[in-house]
């Protein structure tokens, strides 16, 4: 059931120095509907939403909120009129309670300016009640103790406490696992039923199918397509990338491409991992599935020496290997592409080149010339960037100005300069648009074909199944099941949760 138009943006144009970010974009949503806003990174989705909320001011066009013309010059103004944006990066204070975060900046006070903490608590309780029994925290819980999904609920609660009638969610599932996603979807359903208007920004087709009433595709700052229902996935993807993307996942390895065991773990363990026995073969992509906290990331960190095994043995090419620091692991031929690029991968203020060259420079003589290391020269790095079709205004540009996909390419190039034997990809396509995803999958396959053992860890289950020759399922720090290519999502999920349930029951 959909109601009146909640907001309407007409012919919005926004220019940044040297780039037309939005070119006459029109976009609207009704009360009580979920309008999915999709497009590649850098297409202009976030800019459009920032115009709506008053972070940016449009150079041209008009915005109407409930029929009234508005022009917000600051996010606080739009917030007061019932427009809330929940960004990918939360704006929560970890050392404050849920209630304090929800009322941040507008705390109710008693006389003499004394904080009315009782009212904060009860009003927070009222808002949380809208979630039914799905929130497992209280107004007094410290936000730092919550997991990502719960923190997102706090952000949503904040919007609800402001009585937001328009809620924008910017890739809300980027950091969530499947169970948490389902919880979020239910919350979004509730918000829709309450008559709120939701703009849902995402890359994931599954979520569009599950949630959206309408879909608008933005490409290069323009509306590429607008659907009043949810069309076939292919139609959406075609509008996004402007062409047929063909095979999304590359073919699995031929048996003759699979080589020797490169890395072997026997009875490996630490405080989060138990009885890990694992063989990684040249030419093979091994995917790891499991619920959040099952130990997939812990395994990657153990192999990469960041959080090492304290029991068991690891061999590389049959030789015992000591992996007690990332530097040692890298020397032994292991590379890890971290899932959180910004926090763990990039040196943001440095150039694309400096980011690409970082590992080559880290493993070359300290006093050697930084552009002519024995591992890679700057020219070779530039050619690697070219080969990956890395797009930047200039390779001298700061890497923070690039899209997620191009940043990922720079980090891949960084590691390939060391010619690693084992490549561990953690969340290889998080925050990366559909078109670039296919390129990254193709690259992972090429690396395997070139003789590397590839490990893929992702909370996007279709991705793990699509890319892997073999899927290992983890649960509670153990490897609990193994499947070949072509296994169904249901089988994997069953294995991932079954073991969990058995453990809980015992």
């Amino acid at each position: 059931m959909t109601g009146d138009i909640a907001f309407e943006m007409k012919d919005i144009t926004k220019t940044f120095p040297g780039i037309k970010a939005l070119d006459s974009v029109s976009f609207a949503a009704r009360a009580g509907e979920v309008h999915a806003l999709v497009g590649e990174n850098g297409a202009g989705k976030s800019t459009l939403m920032k115009v709506l909320s008053g972070v940016y001011q449009a150079d041209g066009g008009q915005t109407f909120l409930f029929g009234k013309k508005v022009r917000f010059s600051h996010p606080l103004e739009s917030l007061a009129q019932g427009v809330s944006v929940i960004y990918q990066e939360f704006s929560l204070l970890p050392d404050r309670t849920v209630a304090e975060n929800i009322f941040l900046g507008r705390e109710p006070t008693l006389r003499w300016g004394v904080l009315d903490s009782h009212r904060m608590r009860t009003e927070t309780q009222d808002v949380l009640a809208l979630f039914g029994d799905r929130h497992q925290f209280e107004p007094d819980t410290l936000v730092g103790e919550l997991d990502v999904a719960q923190q997102q609920m706090v952000e949503i609660a904040k919007a609800l406490s402001l009585n937001a009638r328009v809620i924008v969610m910017d890739e809300p599932t980027a950091a969530l696992n499947d169970t948490e996603c389902e919880l979020l979807f239910q919350l979004v359903d509730d918000l829709r039923t309450q008559g709120r208007s939701i703009v849902y920004i995402t890359h994931r087709m599954r979520e569009i199918r599950r949630l959206a009433d309408r879909v608008t595709v933005i490409k290069d700052g323009k509306v590429a397509a607008s659907f009043d229902d949810v069309p076939e996935t292919a139609q959406i993807v075609e509008a996004m990338v402007g062409r047929d993307i063909g095979h999304f996942y590359p073919d699995p390895a031929n048996p003759d491409e699979v080589g020797e065991v490169i890395l072997a773990v026997r009875n490996g363990g630490n405080d989060r991992l138990f009885d890990i026995n694992l063989d990684l073969r040249a030419g093979h992509i091994t995917g790891f599935a499991g619920v959040q906290g099952a130990g997939r990331t812990a395994l990657a960190l153990a192999l990469f020496g960041a959080d090492p095994f304290d029991r068991g043995e690891v061999t590389i090419d049959g030789q015992p290997a000591t992996l007690t620091s990332p530097r040692q692991a890298a020397k032994a031929g292991i590379a890890m592409l971290p899932g959180d690029r910004k926090a763990d991968g990039l040196v943001l203020m440095q150039s694309v080149r400096d980011n690409g060259m970082l590992s080559a420079r880290a493993f070359s003589p300290a006093l050697g010339h930084p552009d002519k290391t024995p591992i890679s020269t700057l020219d070779q790095m530039d050619r690697a960037f070219d080969a990956f079709d890395l797009r930047a205004a200039s390779y001298e540009a700061e890497i923070q100005s690039l899209s997620g996909g191009n940043q990922q390419k720079a980090i891949v190039a960084r590691w390939l300069s060391l010619k690693p034997k084992v490549l561990i990809f953690v969340e290889p396509t998080r925050g990366i648009d559909v078109n670039t995803k296919a390129g990254i999958y193709a690259q992972m396959r090429e690396l395997a074909q070139a003789g590397a053992a590839v490990m893929a860890i992702s909370s996007d289950l279709p991705e793990v199944l699509g890319i892997s020759d073999r899927v290992l399922v983890m649960s509670d720090g153990k490897i609990v099941a193994e499947f070949g290519h072509g296994v169904s999502e249901a089988e994997v999920m069953h294995a991932a949760t079954e073991a969990h349930l058995e453990l809980e029951a015992s």
Partner: protein, 317 residues
């Protein structure tokens, strides 16, 4: 061309304007004796600032540099007590003290996880105490001529520039070496990457502890060298190094170095040190008393950070 000017670090323009102002007010400044004297007095702070830049680019502060300058001057005068034949081993010993102090600073930060501002504050107080205890509270001994050579001696009768202070040669040589290490070696790139994002640098294979040790040693050794120059032209006193660490940080910030690491160049830092020295000279010519210098130093420190932030926001779009 205009575009290049726009992207040029404004510190160079400010420096030029200050030079013009000083030259107009005091034509003596245009004589070789005038500007060479200026560069001679700027030499210790320029060297200290570039040493400090290593620590700043690594993401830290070195507050112990000023106290180490004092310790160098006091310690050298006591150890030498006018004995010219001892100069070389005393200088060697003092440089060794610099290496030890820098290493301890870095290891306290790396191994004990103490923030550098606290670790080096502790070192500053400790070194100050050592210098006071050793000297008994008043300067003792004196520095022989061959020790003071570096800070005081002028090479005369040269063509064009006529005179050249040895301190200026020391400044040029040390700064050139530190420019090379920062901007033309793998080490320098690792250092800046570490200051930008230590976790990402570590996960890319950068040896953080080793990188940090070298950065702090560069700062401490530059403090010892600055101390040798200052002992040369100012003589022995117990407050010779007071506040120099803050001047060094100010100079780096005026040069556009980003506090907490990841961005800063040697050239601009030297320009920042010269701006600071030129500002002091200008205030001197205008007849302002010494405390006004401190007020001005404080104000330009804050303005430099504000301007740098403004420029970044604008260029960042």
């Amino acid at each position: 061309m205009i575009n290049r000017l726009k992207h040029m670090n404004p510190v160079f323009l400010v420096l030029l304007l200050l030079f013009v102002a000083i030259a107009i007010l005091s034509p003596y400044f245009l004589q070789p004796a005038g500007y060479m004297n200026f560069f001679k007095r700027a030499a210790p702070i320029a060297i200290l600032a570039v040493g400090q830049l290593y620590v700043i680019n690594s993401g830290g502060f070195d507050l112990s540099a000023g106290a180490l300058v004092t310790l160098t001057v006091i310690g050298s005068s006591i150890l030498l007590d006018g004995d010219a034949s001892a100069t070389w081993w005393v200088i060697t010993a003092m440089l060794a003290v610099g290496v030890v102090v820098g290493t301890v600073n870095a290891l306290v930060v790396s191994w004990l996880k103490v923030p550098s501002i606290i670790a080096t504050l502790g070192m500053m107080i400790t070194l100050g105490g050592v210098a006071l205890t050793w000297s008994g509270g008043a300067p003792r001994g004196y520095l022989p001529e061959n020790f003071r050579f570096f800070g005081r001696y002028l090479i005369k009768d040269l063509p064009v520039i006529k005179i050249l202070p040895v301190a200026v040669i020391v400044m040029v040589v040390i700064c050139a070496a530190m420019w090379w290490l920062m901007h033309r070696t793998n080490y320098g790139k690792r250092l800046v990457a570490m200051g930008d994002n230590p976790k990402a640098a570590m996960l890319a294979g950068v040896p953080l502890t080793q990188t940090r040790v070298v950065a702090f040693v560069m700062s401490s050794v530059s403090a010892v060298i600055a101390g040798i120059l200052l002992g040369g032209f100012a003589g022995v006193s117990t407050d010779v190094g007071v506040g120099l660490e803050l001047q060094a940080i100010t100079a780096a910030v005026i040069g556009g170095a980003q506090l907490l690491g990841g961005r800063g160049t040697v050239g601009a830092t030297i320009a920042g040190a010269l701006v600071l020295q030129a500002m002091f000279t200008l205030l001197n010519i205008l007849g302002f008393p010494k405390p006004i210098r401190d007020v001005v130093q404080g104000l330009i420190l804050i303005s430099a950070v504000v301007i740098a932030g403004y420029r970044r926001r604008r260029s960042g779009g």
